[in-house]
Amino acid sequence: MRRWYVIAAPYIWLLLFFLVPFFIVFKLSLSDTARAMPPYVPVYDMTLGLANFFSQLDFENYSFLLSDPLYINAYISSLKIAAVATLFTLFVGYPIAYGMARAPREWRPTLMMLVILPFWTSFLIRVYAWIGILKKEGLLNLFLMNYGIITEPLNIMNTTTAVYIGIVYSYLPFMILPLYSSLEKISPALNEAAEDLGSPPWRAFWQVTFPLSMPGVIAGCLLVFIPATGEFVIPDLLGGSETLMIGKTLWSEFFNNSDWPVSSAVAVVLLLALVVPIVVFQRAQQREREAV
């Protein structure tokens, strides 16, 4: 029976501080905006009985979300930006992970370390570093104009392009690590066999290496896509007012408008949009662990 002590501590902690809060978000998203003005929200009274409880619920906040194109556009543009950025991250990350997996064995731990190190460095600081580079009188424009590559400064800061750059940069390690771990397991002998049998290298890559690296591609893409959809820091600092993303909408609904019920409804809808990718991710993780 002692094992129940071991299970209980982390289990109760996660139930209390991870699962229960979601139910509170869900409940608050069904309550009236006016009653929930700050600083404090009245707590639901379950003692009044279930019938009473249901009569208190209303879907006003959700119909409000549906009626205001701002929210729908923010959802669609978040999903779009996250999907496009995930593809870019894959294109940038795959060659790096491939190069690492084919590097001499004694180099690999060092290369791994070099990929992980930026991941340990503050997210906020890494996004901030790009402001100095991308802004109009920033280092990139200075550099390009100095060498006569462009005559007019590029307008990248406060556009969606800057958000793409920020997401690719910040989430690159999340893409490289799972890709690397599946690419490393693929024996180069397979490629050599394909080439010996007359397949050109690019075809050997597409028909042998790439399909075998699929678990890494899926895990990497989900690890980038899911958090990027709800991203706040990157669109806020690099995207300016032009970029609409749902994480930013939730933030401003909460901190600027102090509308807790509407921000809860925004959170519930965002969570619903991410349930499918999260479940796919968990299934993939489980399979990976059982394969070990």
């Binding site: 982390p10 501080f17 503050s122 901030y128 802004k135 809860s264 959170a267 965002l270 969570l271």
Partner: protein, 270 residues
Amino acid sequence: MQTRFSWFNVTSIVLGFAFLYIPILLLIIYSFNESRLVTVWGGWSTKWYGSLLNNEQLLTAGWVTLRVAFISATFATILGTLAAIVLTRLGAFRGRTLFSGLVFAPLVMPEVITGLSLLLLFVAIGMDRGFWTITIAHITFSMCFAAVVVQSRLLDFDKSVEEAAMDLGATPVNSFFQVTLPIIAPAVISAWLLAFTLSLDDLVIASFTTGPGATTLPMKIYSQVRLGVTPEINAVSTIMIAFVTLGVLAASYVTKRSTMKAAADAQKAQ
């Protein structure tokens, strides 16, 4: 077997690492810029570091951040290690699927959702918001990262060592502390470090769960960044980067030495 660098592999690695490191290097270099204008180079200077020492608000925020990170990393490592043991050693039990879901979901959950939901919980139970609510929030998400790190080590090593200890009469608790823990110690240390840096870096969750009087360094940096790029922020960032880099390098040195020692011991045993 092909184990040499090919030109394609070298190019992609070099370009990739340039992309990863140049922004950070530029930020560090410009923290030593004499000029207040961020893009005009006015010669080397350490004056922005000096001006940090007089910025009391920033120092207070730094101290709050370090305390939150230390406490939350310690609890997160303990809970995360327990969770990893549950997932790898205790077999099936009722509610296991839910448990593993609860461990893995926070890894990918958008921070705005985690932050908002925890805030609403703290308000619902009437807890005063501030230092401790940030700490609890940080324990919750970093324990899951800790669990993943420790779990991968637990899956790797030979379970028969533990079984041997128990066959020789050790209780499960004894065998954990005398056999398992020494073996997984490097993973536990990296889990602690990861939890520590996650807490050090967090802006979104801390912003939601904080209250009056508890401002963390990222919150302070964020409010200044919104006003523009300044050399002082570059200097704070450089200090944070140096801090984390030294910690990670130290940890990897410890890990490397202990794995080398383990390999040497294994060789001796043969």
